[in-house]
Structures are given as C-alpha cells and as structure tokens.
C-alpha cells in the first residue's frame, strides 16, 4: 500500500523529521511513501500507528538534511527518507561513502542550495526608502531555492543596526533592529524602484572594468544572465562589452605622449 504524506513547510526540517520518525516507527519502507506538499492539507494520513522511533543519526546527516530540505526539487523528502531508512537498517557508514549514488545526489542538492545562498549574499541589492521612523533598506530578490530563512543570519550579522526588509516571491523578511519577522511572499512591484546611489555604483562599475581584458564568457559564467535583471550595474554590461575593443585599440595605436609642461598638474618631486 502507498502512504501519502503531505507537508506544509517548504524548508522546515522539524516537520519532516517528525513525519519520518513516525514512518520509521511503523516500518513503512521508502518505496511505499508518496511525499506531497500543500499549505492547508492535513499533515499525516490516518491509519499509520503513532509509534515514533527515536533514531540516532550522524551529525553530518543532520547538516546535509537541513540544507537539502531547502532545495526546490519535490523529490527531496523521498530522497532524505531513503537515506534515513538505510542508516536505520544497518548502513551506519553511509555518510562516509561519498561515492554512493543516493548520497552523491543529496550532496549535489545540498551544494546547489549552498551555492544559491552564496549568490544571495553576493547579488542582493538594497534600496533606501524613508518612512516616518527614518531610513529603511529594502531588497527584492528571486532565489532559486527556499533559502531566505537559512540566509537570514548573514544579513542580520552584517546589517543589525539598519532596519531592512528582503522581499522574495515565497517569503518576506523584516528586521526591525531587534527581531526578525517572516510574512508571505511579495512581488517586485512592492519593492522601491530605484536609489540615487545606483548611479554612483554604475559609474564605479564602468571605471573598474578593463576593456583590454574583455571576456564575456567568463563574466557570465560567474554571474549568470538570469540574475542581471535585479542588478543595477548589469544595465551597463552590453555597452561596456560593445565598446571594449575600440577603447583598447585607441590605447594601443597612438604614439605615447610626453608630459605636458603647461598642465601645472605634475606633482612635486620627491622631497
């Protein structure tokens, strides 16, 4: 018989753990569980005896599971349950066997989640707006996985003294300088449209670019195009890349000039 389990949370290991312990207690093998998600359906099917099993797992499994649970692939619960089942059925060294197919897949998912978190810390941009209490920093960001909750501490560590909000399609975070609150997801229209400092940032971005080294393939590998639409500096990329060769040619061709004795801007010589 197939047992259907419905989870409410996208990224909550606690909920999954409670369900998995029940399933293990009832001795239901991975092949007989169907994992689904819904925000309002009941958590657990009737007919499964309530005999939660206390299972000890390696700490490294918990770390892996906490990360994998944020992956957007709906197979994550089934895969994690398979791993738990095998650990519970004698494969105590599963976590050390990096070449195992299941573990390899789970590690790949965890690594995708961590990469996504890293990109969020890198590519998220705040815009400043004023409200009656002063400045508030607001960012719109579209993560690939369910990583906002998991990445919150990074932003609080860094910006604890600022009021800030991070808006994503799935979830919204508000930090009021003392505590974090989560609420439903929002849309890009809910975020501020611009910030005056972005002109400065674009000016810096254009100036720090060396046209003699233009390499769009490399740039795109590090900063994929699907992140560009939320990066203020990305609007300049096309023009900078197009003009690069002409700018380099101008640097190479003309004969080097000698210092202009009339400029009056040559600094003083060594004292």
């Amino acid at each position: 018989m197939t047992c259907t389990v419905t989870l409410r949370q996208q990224d909550d290991l606690g909920e999954f753990r409670a369900v998995a312990r029940k399933l293990l207690g009832a001795g239901i093998p991975p092949g007989e569980v169907l994992w689904t998600r819904s925000e309002d359906a009941s958590l657990f099917p009737d007919g499964v005896p309530d005999a939660s099993k206390a299972l000890s797992v390696p700490r490294s499994f918990m770390d892996l599971a906490e990360t994998v649970i944020c992956h957007r692939d709906d197979q994550r619960w089934a895969l994690l349950y398979q791993a738990l089942w095998r650990i519970d059925h004698g494969e105590h060294t599963l976590m050390q066997r990096a070449a195992d197919k299941l573990l390899h897949r789970l590690r790949g998912m965890a690594s995708a989640v961590r990469h996504d978190q890293h990109r969020m810390t890198a590519f998220l941009r705040f815009r400043v707006v004023q409200d009656p209490d002063g400045e508030i920093y607001v960012a719109w960001y579209e993560p690939r996985h369910h990583i906002l909750r998991r990445t919150t501490s990074f932003f609080i560590d860094r910006f604890a003294s600022m009021r800030f909000s991070i808006l994503t399609p799935d979830l919204t975070l508000c930090w009021d300088r003392t505590s974090a609150h989560y609420s439903a997801g929002l849309s890009k229209q809910d975020a501020p449209p611009d910030d005056a400092i972005e002109d400065w940032w674009r000016r810096y971005y254009a100036a720090i670019f060396n046209p003699a080294r233009v390499n769009m393939k490399l740039a795109q590998r590090h900063m994929p195009k699907d992140f560009w639409h939320n990066l203020p500096e990305a609007a300049s990329i096309a023009d900078l890349a197009r003009q690069a060769h002409a700018r380099t040619d101008r640097m190479i061709r003309p004969a080097p000039s000698l210092p202009d004795p009339c400029s009056g801007q040559t600094p003083r010589t060594t004292p």
Partner: protein, 412 residues
Amino acid sequence: MSLTAARMPTLEKLAILADAAKYDASCASSGGTKRNSRDSAGIGSSTGNGICHSYTPDGRCVSLLKILLTNSCVYDCAYCINRRSSNVRRTRFSVNEVVDLTLAFYKRNYIEGLFLSSGIIRSSDYTMECLVRVAQTLRETHSFRGYIHLKTIPDASPDLIRQAGLYADRLSINLEMPTPEGLKQYAPEKQIGSINRTMHDLSTHIADAKAEPKGPRFSPAGQSTQIIVGADASSDSVVLTAASSLYDRYRLKRIYYSAFSPIPDASQTLPSRPAPLQREHRLYQADWLMRFYGFAASEILAGTQDNMLDQAIDPKLAWALRNRHCFPVNINTADREMLLRVPGLGVRSVDRILQSRSHTKLRLDDLKRLSGSIQRLRPFVVTADHRPTKLIDLHDLRTIVAPRAEQMSLFG
C-alpha cells in the same frame, strides 16, 4: 592639492580614481577574522570567506571598493597609468569622501569593504598617514566591521605600519617587476631593498600577532603582492622562482599575476601589445600547484621549453605527461600526495576518495561521482575495474587528454 581637484564633483573623482586603481588585480576579501555587528551600533561583518558581489565584463570580480586616494604620484614607473610623466587628469579624495562612499556602497550590499591604495605624494609617511586615517575613521568613528585592504607605502615609519595593521584585514606592497633589474629599468625610483624590507617587517608583525592572539591585531588576512607579467622579458621560470621565494621568505598569503595590459597614454619603453591572458592563467594554475598540491617550482618547470609553461595544457597535466613513469596511480591504495598529482583530481575529490575507499573498493563509476568527470583521469588511474594498459605509453596521449581548442577560448 590643485584647484581642479577641489572643484571636481565626487562622482567624477570616483570615475578617475577607480580607473586609476583597476590595474591592481587583488580583489580578495577572505581571511579576515570572523565578526559581526549584532552587538554594536556599527555596521559590517566578515565570515572569513570572501564574497564577489559582481563581475565586470572582463570576468573579474568586484568584491571591494577599489580606489586610490589620489592618482598624483612622485614616482615615474613606466607601467603605471599614474606615473609622474603621464598626462592623465589628477585628483584626490578627502578622507570623508572615501569613508562616505564606502559606507553608502556597503549598506546597499554592493561590496565587502574597501581596498585603498594611493599614488605617493609629498612623502611616504604623509601618504601612509592619509591611508591610515581613512581606515581609522571607518573603524573608530563608524564601527565599520567590513573588510579593509590597505596598500603599504615603502619606507613608511614603523608606527604608521603598526597602525595600518591594526585597522586593516590585509596589507600589501606590490613587487610589480619579477627581477631587480626589471624594477630598476621600469621603476627607477623604487628600491628593491625597501620593498623586501617592508615585506619582511610585515611578515614579522603578522607572525607575532598570530602568536599572541590577545595582543593587538595585525593584518589578520596576511599580506599579498602583485607581479606584472609580460612587460619585461622575464620567462615563466623567472616569475615562478621569484614567487616561490616570496612565499618562502615572507609567508605571503597570495601573489597576484597581472598580464601586462595596455594603458592610456603609455610610456614608450613598454610593449604596445598586451601580454596574453592565457599566460597569466597558466601562472595562476602553477601557483595553485605550489600552494595546495605540494609541487615545487622546480618540478613544474623541469623539462619545459624555453623556461615557459605550456600554454595549451595546464601545468599539472604537462607535468604528468613528462613524468609518465609515476603513472598509473592506484586510486584504492595511493597516498594523498600522489593522488593530488593525478591530472583531473582536485583537493576535494582526493579527500572524498580517501574517505570513501576505507568503506568500499572504488570502481570507475564511483570515481566519476567523486571527481565529476573521468575523461582525462582514465589514462592515469587504476581502479577495481579499470587498468589503462598501454594507454600511458601512447605517443598521442596528449591529444587524448588535452582539452579541445574550443574549450581553450574560454580563457582567451
């Protein structure tokens, strides 16, 4: 400074002083002490790992606000856009302009912090003092806990260096030319002795601070330097031997290799064409082999042609092809040191192999999962189900394992 500078709007200064700073390849924001701002009115954190917040169309990362305090300079180094005899427009930031810019960018999550360098004006001490004042204002007035990289000015007083190390996560002084003769030719006012002395002093302070964790901090992310490649005639052998000696003598955290790049209004003594970026890339790979894979510079260079690294294949593969008697390596029994020498195996793959093989005899399929790809590994390894008979003796082994030309253009 001049009236022009005083009148110039900050936005324009930013364009000039960022443009003037871009030939310094250093961008790292890693290695600082872990810290956050949860307990303070200040701002900033460091996880110890750097973050690249953006990439410019040259594929280089933007991690720090990299600017000069001023692009005026009393030196006349041929390779430098800011040399005394260049006709570039001169300007200068005030301390507060740099502080405000850093904070405005940091609060919007554009950057990890500040990389501040400067042309040398008036004297070494005067210039160093200006740099220190910016860092001090950020740290003390604004409780800034982000990353700060300061350039060390040669011959600055020990007291200023001590202060710089107190506020900065990393300090650096650029060697630029790989040989003393090159330095003499292209940077006549710079003294190799003074650069070496500064590096030596920094390495002593860094080691002392590490040994005394409760004492005052000193540049916890260490020191780095930069070598320009292709401006003079130095071979890769000269560059790597110099690098290896710098790592040994001064415990540098990193050396940056910067392929000579044409600058506007260049000096006539320089080549007018840029050095190939591929050369820079191969030097970085060789540097990596020295730092993380247990290779000595002499091993990487032995048997190369004209003392230059092979441009078509990476230096680890090139070493393996020249040392076929060391292969094939048995994945299930070889020690860590030898596994690290197998082309296609990185440090992480090797660690996973060592962990996995104590539980199971590794087969080719397992190896594929552990290392990502086995295409180039096959001729060099033995697994439970694979032995590359004869393959290692093939004359055209190079064409079998070398990446195709199409892939090479990635770096070009």
